[in-house]
Symmetry: C2
Amino acid sequence: MSWKGNCLIAQSGGPTAVINNSISGLIKESLRQTRIKTVYGAIFGIKGVLDEQLIDLGLESRQTIDGLRYTPGAALGSCRYKLQDSDYEKLLAIFKKHDIRFFFYVGGNDSMDTANKIHQLAQTSGYDMAVVGVPKTVDNDLPETDHSPGYGSAAKYIATVVKETGLDLQGIVASSDIAILEVMGRNAGWLTAAAALAKNNREEAPHLIYLPEVAFDRERFVNDVLKVYDKLGYAYVVASEGLTDKNGNYIAAEKATDAFGHVKLGNGLATTLKEYITKEANLKVRCNILGTSQRSAIHNSSRTDASEAYMAGIEAVKLAARGMSGIMVTLERKDHPYYLSSLGYTDLDRVANREKTMPLSMINEEHNNITKEFLDYARPLIEGEISIPMHQGLPVFVTLEGYKRMNLISRKPAS
Amino acid sequence: MSWKGNCLIAQSGGPTAVINNSISGLIKESLRQTRIKTVYGAIFGIKGVLDEQLIDLGLESRQTIDGLRYTPGAALGSCRYKLQDSDYEKLLAIFKKHDIRFFFYVGGNDSMDTANKIHQLAQTSGYDMAVVGVPKTVDNDLPETDHSPGYGSAAKYIATVVKETGLDLQGIVASSDIAILEVMGRNAGWLTAAAALAKNNREEAPHLIYLPEVAFDRERFVNDVLKVYDKLGYAYVVASEGLTDKNGNYIAAEKATDAFGHVKLGNGLATTLKEYITKEANLKVRCNILGTSQRSAIHNSSRTDASEAYMAGIEAVKLAARGMSGIMVTLERKDHPYYLSSLGYTDLDRVANREKTMPLSMINEEHNNITKEFLDYARPLIEGEISIPMHQGLPVFVTLEGYKRMNLISRKPAS
C-alpha cells in the first residue's frame, strides 16, 4: 500500500474540554506524513463533508494549531447527524473529488458508527481510504478502551466543584440542608461517580451517589438522604441525569429524541429529586446543574487527559499512514508500579453503537455509592494541570482561520 | 482608649470563594495586636455566639491560618439568623463573660445590620467594645464600597464558564440552539453582568444579558432571542435569578422566605425562560445553573479579589485597635494610570440593610445588555490567579482544628 492523497479531519457529537487536543495532534502529524498531501478539515462533522465545507488546515498558523490544545468546544464545529442511505453515494463522490485517502473522525459511540460505515463504504467500493476513529466523550462509555479522552477533565471538574460546594454546604447553617448535583451521562455513571474523588472523610461531600447502572428507587432515596441528614445535619447528593426506575423509564426525560433516537434529557432530574425530598421532609434543598460547563471546563482540566487526547490524535495518523483502516485508537493502562497509559487500537465495529457502563463491582451494595475499585480506576485520570495563556483575568482561546471564514455561512439557521 | 481584651471573629450569610481570606487576615492581625489577648472564633456566626460555641484561634497552626487563603466555604461556619429582641441581653452577657472587646463580623447587608445592632448595644450599655464589619458578597450589592470582596472571583468564574460554554454552543450544530445561564443575585445584577467580560466579538457569548434592575418583559425577551438566533444560528442568554416583571414580581420564586423575610429563589428562572422560548419557536434550549459553585469556585478565583479580601480583614483589626467602632471596611478605587485599590471605612448604619444595585448607565437602552462603563468597572476585579496546593489532581483545603471539634455537635439538626 503506497497510495498518497489528502486527509480529512472532522469531529462529532458533544465536545469535551480537550477534544481539540486530538484535532491538534491530528493536524500536526498529518502535516508531517509524506503520504498525506493536503490536510483538510470538515466544518460541522460529517454534515460538513456532505456540504463540502472543507478548509485547508495547512494554512493555519503554528500558533493556532498549538492553541487548540487549550481551547474548548469543537474547533472544527460538530454535528449530530445520522447518515442516510442516500448519503453514501454522495460521500464517496466527495471523497473522490477531493482525493481524500485518509479520514479521521473524533467522536463517541455514534460517531464511531458513522466512521465504521464510511470505512465499509470505501471497502465495498474498492476505494483506497484509511478510516481511523479517535475516541472522545465525557461519558467515558466507549468500549474496548480503558478510558476515553475527555473523561478525565470532566471528572476533575466535577470532583473539584463537589469539593468546593461541599464545603459551602457544610459551613452554613439554615441556608441549605441538602445539595443535589446533577451530572451528565445518559446511560453510564462514570462521570457521576467521579464526584466521589472529592471525599476524604465521612463528613465531606458527596455522601450519596446515584448511578444509571442500577435502578433508582424513590423511597430508598429519600430514606438514604434523611439518614445522612440525621447524622450530619446536611447531605450532598450527586445523581446522573440518566437515572431510571426499575422498569427502565427515565426519572426525568423530555419527550424529544435526537437524530440517533436517544431520548433527550432535560434539566429535570435534580428538581425531581428535590421534590421527592421536600414532599417527605421540611428540608431546604439546593440544586446545582453544571450543564455544558462539564464538557468545556478547560480551565480546570487534567493534564493526563489533555496529553492522552493529543497523543491519540497523533497515533490515529500514524496508524492510517501504515494503511490501517476501520479502527479506533484506544488507551491501555499499566498501573504498576504507577499509572502509565499506552496507545492501542480496536476494530470500529467492536465500538460502534456500543456503550460501556460501570461494572457492578464499582457500585456499592446499597446502590447509593461507589467502591474503592472505582477510585483506583479514576484517580490517575484527573492528575496534573495545564497552563492556559491568560489576558485580563480570562483564558485566551484560538479560532481556526478557516472556521472563522466558513462559520457564519454554515451556522445560518435553515429557514 | 486603652482597654485591652479578647476579640471575637465570626462570619455570616452565604460564603464567597475568598471569604476565608478575610478570616485569615483577621486572625493574623489580631494575633499581632498587643491590645488583643485571646483571639476567639464563633462557630456558625452570631448563632454560635448565642450558643457560646467559641474556639481559640490562637491554637491553630500557622499552616492552617495560611491555608484559609485558598479554602472556600465558611471556615468558621455561617448562619442566616436575624437577632431577636430577647437575644441582646444574652449577647451582652456572653461578651462580658468572655471579655470580648473587639468584634469582627464578615458578611453582607444583613450581617452589617447585625453588626450595627451589636455596636449600638455596646454603646447604649456603656460596654467598651469595638465592632467592625468586613464586607463579603458575590452579589456586590453593598453600598459605600467601590466593590465587595468575593465579587471579583465569582465574576471571573462566571465569565470563564461563559467563554467556555459559549464555544461549546457555537461549535455544535443541531445539539442546542439556545443556551441559558442562570446567575445568582437577588436584586442586583452585578454578577450576571460579569458574563459580558467573556465577549470579544459579535459572534461570541453572551449575546443577551437580563438584569434585575430593569423590568423583564416576556415578549421582548423572546423577540431578542429570535433576533440573535436568526443572525447567528445560536444565542447565549445570561439571566439573573432575581428577574422581576414590571409589577415587581419575581419571574421565578418559591413561596418560602428566609430569616430576613427575603423571598427564596429556586432553580426555576432558567427553565421558565426556556419555556418562554420553546412555546414560541421550535428551538433546543439548554440551561446551565451553576448554583453554589458561583460562590465557592476558589479554583478559578481572582488574585486581586483574594488579596483585597485578605487586606480588608487586616484593616478591620487595625481600625478596631485604634478604638474605632460601628464601621465597615470599604474598598476605594483609583483607576489612573492603572487600577489600584485602597482601604477605607464607612459607618455601619450607612450600609446596614441597604443594597447597591447597578446604575442604569451600566445597562443598555434595550435593557438586554450592559454598557462599556460596566466593563471598565469590572475588568480589573477579575485579574490574576492564585496558586492552590494540589494533591492527586484536586485542591487541598484546610479545616480549622477548633471547627473540626465543634462541628459535629453544632450541626446536629434540631429534632
